[in-house]
Symmetry: C6
Subunit: 270 residues, 6 copies
């Protein structure tokens, strides 16, 4: 890609570390070949964003990521008029940039966004592949490389915050979960450089916490937090302190759950 | 139409693939002859937008589509003042452009819009066929070619989100549903190029899912998702994987429904 | 009226077709003679707006119509400051134009508007007949020809959306209903040109639907929809298809009501 | 007062017709002598605004009236910065004009306003008699002639829409009610010029409607509506038609109440 | 203080009349010596604001008062960018002016304000005594003379409208109540100049009303209203009329309470 | 650090007084070494902000503090376009300044902020350490010195106001509580200079109040309020008055709690 291209900065130049969990790389490649819009579901910190980054690298396409939130409006995605020395000037939003110049546009935690942000993607996700900029009076035909990817965490899905069927039925879907024990252990060893045994102990802790989900825990310990704990241990912090600080204190203030987790930590590392 | 015409870009130049389900083409033609406002109802992904696009092509009129959403205001339809180098400048919204220059204006999922967006269409839908631009102090008499088309999904119709009777009673209505088995099979064969037998299997799967509507399913598998699955199969993805990814994972996280669908997929393709 | 007059474009130059239902023309004329503010109540599509248009024509006064909606603010009625090449410039809203230059101002479906839009009319509706433009620092004394007319549908009147007594007690009121059988039949014959017998059949259908109001129907079939059905029939659409499309499908998705209406349509035209 | 004075246009030059109900003129004069803030309570259309206008005329002070509404903000009262050819320019709101140049400021239906509009008057209503324009950085000391008058209808007073005690305890209060029979009759005779007997009949009708308050009627027939009915009768409209149109139709759609009122009207005038 | 000082106009130049209720002057002086933030609680009209004004006079410091309200935002306190002939210009809000140039900033009825207005004072009320102007990118170190004073009425304190503990725990607090009988009597005699006996009668009335608090009365008659009644009596208004107008009508529309108060008034002055 | 550096003013130049409660200094140092985002939990006024300030001093990094509030938007953190003499000019928000130039960014009471303020930090808290300025079209790679620290009070944590799991799982956490008796006593002696015995008495009072938490008390007496009381005592205010004013009156209006606390105060100091 040419450095003058407006999406050149969004190329993923270094291969991100990614450990496949199944046939997801082949399936995503097939979906991209048809430019099917893709939805990725799964719990917090299980590697959804890392996977998208990896695929962008593998496909050699730029990646524009937008962290959705409940105050995000369609204009934040599509663009708006700015006041300039010579009057108003149009500024493309991230979705428009991606559609115009051919990037993968990744809308992270799409369910958090207000509905106008989700409806705005509809014409980009059917046979038209168009993005009407109503406020500018322009009709963009998506670049041949453009693809839309969204993610969300079905565990949070409340009645108030679910995608509408008319949005869901525009996507092919991937369901992610935490990696299998062996894979997760290898991730800790390779990313942080701790001994395999410590990594196994950490993964075992995480696994038992994930079983508590729904029994007082909103969500289990994520792979990301395991990496945090492993980093602190690698830097000399005692394992029990590192686990309290990275695996327990951030995610719960429930005294019962805390006591259960403390016993598990102490049993594992003492 | 002259290329200098502001709605020239909205002409549908290529005949969209559309398979009639009944006498809807003749009826729409009659409604257009009287310029009756038209309302199209039906489930997600059953071909409502494709039909409107087809009719625009057949009637040789430009088509301006607006995806409605709950943050859309009347100004988004009608237009607003923009700040320019020489002060404020008026910019017509999509509805105004359609009324002024003679296009079919298609408001997709109108029930999502805020009420002011729906009330603004009232004077365009009675004998006056006028659009008052209050903020500009202009009264537009609609172009002879102008027609208003709206769509909505009655399945979503909640008490909070229904059209007011004073809006409903301004439209002639079409009720759409998924195509009949034979038609839907032919659509898959013609659009994607898979063997007729695979197409029949996919349609059978969709049909059984549609019977689950109201029994844990918000809505059945749409024709659009069948096209997705067919595309992946055509590109070599195993049928069971393609069906999970395109027909099941996007639309439900309910474990009971998922297990029912998985059995149906496996029974069909193994 | 002089073409240079700012409300010249709002003159109703052609006599609108209007069939009186009683002594309403004489009463409105008396109310206008005293410039009493007038309120018109009645169901959707029974001819309220047509009556106001007719009276404006008959009295030879310009008519400025505003379709009220819940996002309409006082500024939308009264006016606002716009940014111009030489700074801010005041733009009169439709109510101010009517009060300043002497038009009938018709606020259609006033109950939809936000309260500030309704309170703003108070000083125009008592002995003062003034409109204070607080934001401009101007106090307008209404033109001698100015009259305020509002309409609303008491069937929609909910506790949340009713006029305040302090607003109601500023108006003389007209209660409208659907025209009597003979009148309604004549309207269809004269406006669309269908045979009298067909017109009578359509009116009979509408009448029976109006009896269903409150029994699953929000509102009966309006005169406007009868005109739609008659138009389609006049253009050769089979009567049963035209009735389904114009009289049934737009107003209800309730299966019981639909079945009742379908039987009535079939019984009438087969 | 000098014509160059910014509040000169707000002088009440002609004595408004006002018929005293008791010692209210003397009491208001005493309150004005001490510049006590005054609150006037009473039902819709009983003459509150007319009384304030009369007092302004009698005291020879200009009167600035603001019709409060729930979208009114403090800035609407106090003033705001406007954009001008040479940048921003401050524009005093009506309250500021009154305080700066010495007018009576009358806030009509104050309970409708948002709280910031009511709190903004606090420093003007204690011993300080100051109005801080925070956004302009100016502290106005009220003109010696300035007085604040507010009105509200305690019948509407809901828990959500009542003045705060900290506001109430800054006012001396007047409680108004509809005029006594003799007074109200005389008002109709003098304002409209109908025969005394007709006036008595109209007042008797109003009185019986006022007894229905709380029994299906939100509020009884006001003096203002009696003036409407009298005007129509004076212009030749039959009394029963005029009463339906001016006394019944504007204020109720309740069928029971309507039937009661219709009987009363017919019994009175037939 | 130098007249060129931006807070010079806020000096309290004349000793306000203030009658101490206890050791509050010494305690406030001690709190100011340490620049402790101060919170003053008490019912409406008991003299909280007068006390703060008195202390500002006694300490010889300028006093900037802000009447808080529920539409007040942090920007109203801190400042905002204004558009000027040469672009945007920053305007300090009242809190910033006080912190920058050394005034006592008095936030009256702080609980009415939105939370962002209360959180904005946090860094000014701990050991940092800083005010970050995030929107301007400036960090103000409070002037040595700056002190923050807030007031609120705990009687209004609802769950929705209470200060957060993290705000409360930043203040030393004073609890005020109505003055003792002797003190309150003396206030009426000294401020208005009525005979001591009349003053005693008025105070006795107020005291009995204060006992009704919680039994149908939101709050008892305040010292301020007593001053109103006394003023009217001093000007020749009969005491029973003055009491109805100044002590009863402003504060209650409850018929039972009104009848109780009327008896008390008549028993006192007849 | 160079004085020309935009974050030079945010250096903590003087060692803040901080008394460690355990190994938190070593743990924070380890977390900073890996630039792990840090979350600090604990009750009001227990020293969370002081600890962050101390660590910034110890690590020799600038500290940018933002007091979060429920009206804070993402733009308040990230930055916005301002209108300037030469058109619009971008102004970095505090988070952007910290990320761009390398400061510790401390978001105090993060749960108070609106969700978009919390989601905006996500890309800064995973392996990317990026901050996309969507509205400017810039992608900031965080400075090597940048670290994000947030604080919140789990005692306030309601269902409406909790961090999302997807936010929580991005932080290593510290749990703070009030200092131990000996430490807290020493803080009072060292910061204010009162005798050790008085300090012990004050701490004993605070400890007993903290046991009332959940029994009518929202939160116990904080270390900060103890410092207030000690200051007043050091300046000669009688201990019982100082304790009422600094320890009791600010935090509760509950009569039972007040009576318990008064007894405790009197028992301690009489």
């Amino acid at each position: 890609m040419n450095p003058g291209n407006p999406v050149y900065d969004y190329m993923v130049n270094k291969e991100p570390y990614y450990h496949p969990q199944g046939d997801e790389i082949a399936l995503f490649t097939a979906a991209y070949a048809r430019r099917l819009p893709v939805m990725i579901k799964g719990p917090t910190g299980c590697g959804k964003s890392r996977f998208v980054e990896y695929m962008a690298w593998k496909l050699g396409k730029p990646l524009i990521t937008v962290a959705c939130n409940e105050d995000m409006t369609a204009a934040d995605l599509v663009g708006r008029w700015l006041l300039d020395a010579e009057g108003t000037r149009w500024q493309d939003g991230p979705l428009t940039v991606a559609a115009r110049y051919g990037a993968i546009c990744y809308l992270d935690e799409i369910v958090e966004a207000r509905q106008d942000s989700t409806v705005v993607i509809h014409p980009l996700t059917d046979h038209r592949r168009q993005l009407p900029l109503d406020k500018k009076g322009e009709l963009i035909q998506a670049h041949a490389d453009f693809q839309l990817v969204i993610s969300y965490n079905p565990g949070y899905q409340s009645l108030m915050k679910d995608l509408k069927q008319s949005t869901k039925q525009r996507f092919a879907a991937f369901r992610f979960d935490y990696p299998e024990t062996k894979v997760e252990t290898e991730i800790l060893v390779r990313e942080v450089g701790i001994p395999e045994q410590t990594a196994e102990q950490l993964v075992a802790l995480a696994k038992s916490s994930r079983n508590l989900k729904g029994h007082g825990m909103d969500e289990g310990i994520s792979t990301r937090l395991l990496v945090y704990a492993a980093s602190l241990i690698a830097d000399g912090v005692p394992a029990t302190r590192a686990c309290r600080m990275a695996l327990m204190d951030p995610i719960t203030d429930d005294e019962d759950i805390r006591s259960t987790l403390e016993h598990a930590i102490d049993a594992t590392f003492n």
